[in-house]
Symmetry: C2
Subunit: 470 residues, 2 copies
């Protein structure tokens, strides 16, 4: 027998799709000041829907200094004594460039072959609508929510969430909850029922190596001065030893080796390594002693993202440049402190620098730690149960090699754990032309969201206290 709330939600899918199209038609590109009206239109649509659902304390949140794109807040505290979830989504989208690569205009959503196309439809407007319409169905059918819900709908996710820490700090009490349930963060693969339980952190910086005050002619100076491109190559080469291990022991401070259980779990995940690498015409390569998924999910990295120096135009120029540059970023795993890890790499480079060269370190990038939701966290268990009941399969626990700033920021500032419960799929071209969202994901998502609300309702609120870090 179908849950009456789910029946209501499924019956109203056409309305959901229409509302989603209206929202996607707003060009809410936060990175582009020329699209500020699109941002405002999107905010008003979301606020209108929350108002209609009788959410309380509707307001726009900014850091104390009032800057940045405001986040939308609203709450329904319908269930005294029951858990309170901070439900997260975002209304801003990526820029649509390159426009010429879209088959249909990015802000004119259309349906084709069971898919809806448009910028932001998978990241994160479609998944957000699933969460909102699930809540609306509860209100419509039962007159209230089975748990307490605080909605936080951010406007700066695609520009790196610069205001989010300030918003959380400034509105700490308002946003207090037992855990965070995110409608953002993609599912890994269409063929797999999976839950994302961890992400890597990141940090980065830029270096400039200098060997002279000016570019020099290789005829007049070749063989008698150092070449900064050679020096920089030496520094970069020294970062990894022959096994692909990073040659700065302090970098690994706090990194736990994968346990046998974790390795076994990862080994069981169906993963066609050969075809994954065939697509990009590359060969697996990395730290000796780890499988590809272990490397991607459990091991930290240092990569040069860009490097340059000297003459890079057409033809030849017999110059010995006086400086050379590299941009480096790291991917970090749980246990690593971003600042410690970054300084370890910087100190290593300094230790390798020959005395005939100097090095500047600058261009500090925003950095954040890795995040992993505790295995036995009650919200994670609720998510597992919800997926088991709606798909008939036990979800695999997967991680991502990329970074999810949200999880790390709410963990650090609010002391809360986050479960990513998005119904986007990672092949849906978010951040690329022809972004789309599967219609089938709406059905799947509504079922799972109704079910996770029921699961959370059943959790004894006290179960969360062991995990709260404030």
């Amino acid at each position: 027998m179908t849950d009456p709330v789910l029946k209501h939600a499924l019956d109203h899918q056409p309305q959901l799709i229409e509302a989603l199209k209206t929202l996607v038609a707003c060009p809410s590109v936060g990175a582009d000041p020329a699209m500020s009206q699109g941002m405002e239109d999107a905010r008003q649509i979301v606020e209108g829907r929350l108002d209609a659902m009788e959410f309380q304390r509707l307001q726009r949140l900014t850091p104390a200094d009032g800057t940045g794109q405001p986040a939308i807040y609203g709450e329904r505290m319908d269930a005294p004594g029951k858990p309170t979830m901070l439900v997260y989504a975002h209304y801003d989208v990526q820029p649509p460039d390159p426009l010429e690569k879209w088959d249909t205009p990015p802000f004119e959503p259309v349906e084709r072959d069971g898919r809806l196309f448009g910028r932001g439809i998978s990241d994160d407007k479609g998944p957000m609508m699933i969460a909102l319409e699930t809540l609306a169905a509860f209100v419509a059918v039962e007159g209230k929510l089975p748990i307490n819900v605080k909605l936080l709908i951010e406007g700066e996710e695609e520009t790196g969430s610069p205001s989010l820490p300030g918003i959380l700090e400034t509105h700490r009490e308002l946003l207090d909850a037992d855990a965070v349930l995110s409608a953002d963060g993609a599912r890994w693969r269409p063929d797999l029922v999976a839950l994302n339980v961890g992400s890597r952190g990141n940090a980065g910086f830029e270096i400039r190596v200098q060997t002279a005050s000016q570019d020099l002619h290789s005829g007049r100076y070749g063989g008698i001065v150092a070449n900064p491109l050679h020096v920089l190559s030496g520094l970069i080469s020294s970062l990894h030893d022959d096994t692909g291990h990073i040659a700065a022991p302090v970098f690994y401070e706090g990194v736990a080796e994968p346990t046998n259980a974790e390795r076994a779990e990862i080994a069981e995940i169906p993963y066609d390594e050969e075809s994954s690498f065939e697509v990009i015409d590359a060969k697996p390569h990395g730290e000796t002693g780890y499988s590809t998924l272990e490397r991607l999910w459990m091991r930290p990295t240092v990569d040069v993202n860009g490097m340059w120096g000297g003459y890079t135009g057409a033809g030849s120029k017999t110059v010995i440049p006086n400086e050379a540059f590299a941009k480096l970023t790291m991917r970090l795993v749980p246990g690593q402190d971003p600042e410690t890890a970054k300084q370890a790499v910087i100190q290593h480079l300094k230790s390798q620098l020959p005395d005939y060269a100097s090095m500047d370190v600058y261009g500090d990038r925003g950095q954040g730690g890795a995040y992993a939701v505790p295995e036995d966290h009650p919200l994670l268990q609720a998510a597992v149960s919800a997926l088991e009941q709606t798909t008939g399969q036990t979800p695999l626990k997967v991680r991502i090699g990329a970074s999810l700033p949200l999880t790390e920021i709410v963990s650090r500032i609010l002391g809360l754990d986050t479960v990513m419960f998005s119904f986007a799929l990672s092949d849906e071209n978010f951040h690329a032309p022809n972004e789309f969202f599967r219609l089938s994901s709406i059905t799947d998502g509504l079922a799972a969201w109704v079910q996770i609300m029921r699961q959370i309702e059943a959790i004894d609120r006290q179960a969360f206290s062991a995990f709260r870090r404030t």
Copy 2:
């Protein structure tokens, strides 16, 4: 008692300076098609002067296919049984850019503080006029030259002499001589009487290292694929061992270690290493076991002139690029075959390439061997004597670390040795704004050129045969 020819030449310095200014006023920039009239004007001025001096067989020389900027040829075979010199100079000049850095317009020559300013005045119009007016003085005073002279005045020196090999091959008989006396090629330092007896050769190529078919996101691929910037850094680092020696034994094939005599000669050259490096804010660095001048003159090099890959714009981009590039050039010393040396470096790079990366080698640069005039060559001895008699000092024998294509090309094609007998000085901003030529160099140059003609007249022509290679 002053040589009457020299007296005549010195008396006519004002006319020489006027003629030089007229020549410098022609913008003979061979690299710029818009300045072809300047090239033609310069040719006509030079041809007019040779005609007035009653040079014979006046003609313009091109390769067999008639392409390129013609060289000007004329001869006076006044001295049967005496040596025949091929006297070299060039009428083309470097582009004047950046124009805004000139204190006075580059093609409006002016005199200031004992210096004449203008594009090409030091390289090579001033030195050429010294040679021509020396010959003119002989004709005016003695009615003929004391030796046989074939003049070859090139129009493509500043664009790499692409037609010169073809001109020499096509007009081999016309250009046949006992040796080449060049009015091009700067003196090292104003404070030193020196003769340049050798130059390094060069060769170069470009490489592309590839690890995947497309740029990859460092979150999704960091730690599981190779980074081509790391691979390229490893390749570049592998080029030199810890002593600065190039790690490709075949590269050194044919390279002779400096003899004790050569080392002693070099050690005697006054050279203020500290201040030379202070000027460029660099530290001496190079192959262990050699002094700076030995490194610069006697040792071959490999340098990366440019290197790039990945994101090089402002800020950060978490990309793992799929390809990385480097431009490399070599400086070669006598005994090295450019092709062998180049292939040695390429083979070394290939041997170091890991199996998860591929490498393309392309962008072959024009290459040429090193050149050294034999210690006991009669023309070198004549030049030494001429400088001894006009300066009262024994000239130091120096080399340059750069390449002089002329010397290598005439050696290879005509089998002749060249002595560089220019009176430009290396600080006179050739190839830079505010190029100038010292008025004092005209006096010094006329004296030395009159004297070297006398010295050559005294050489038994047979003395050259041992050195001719055809």
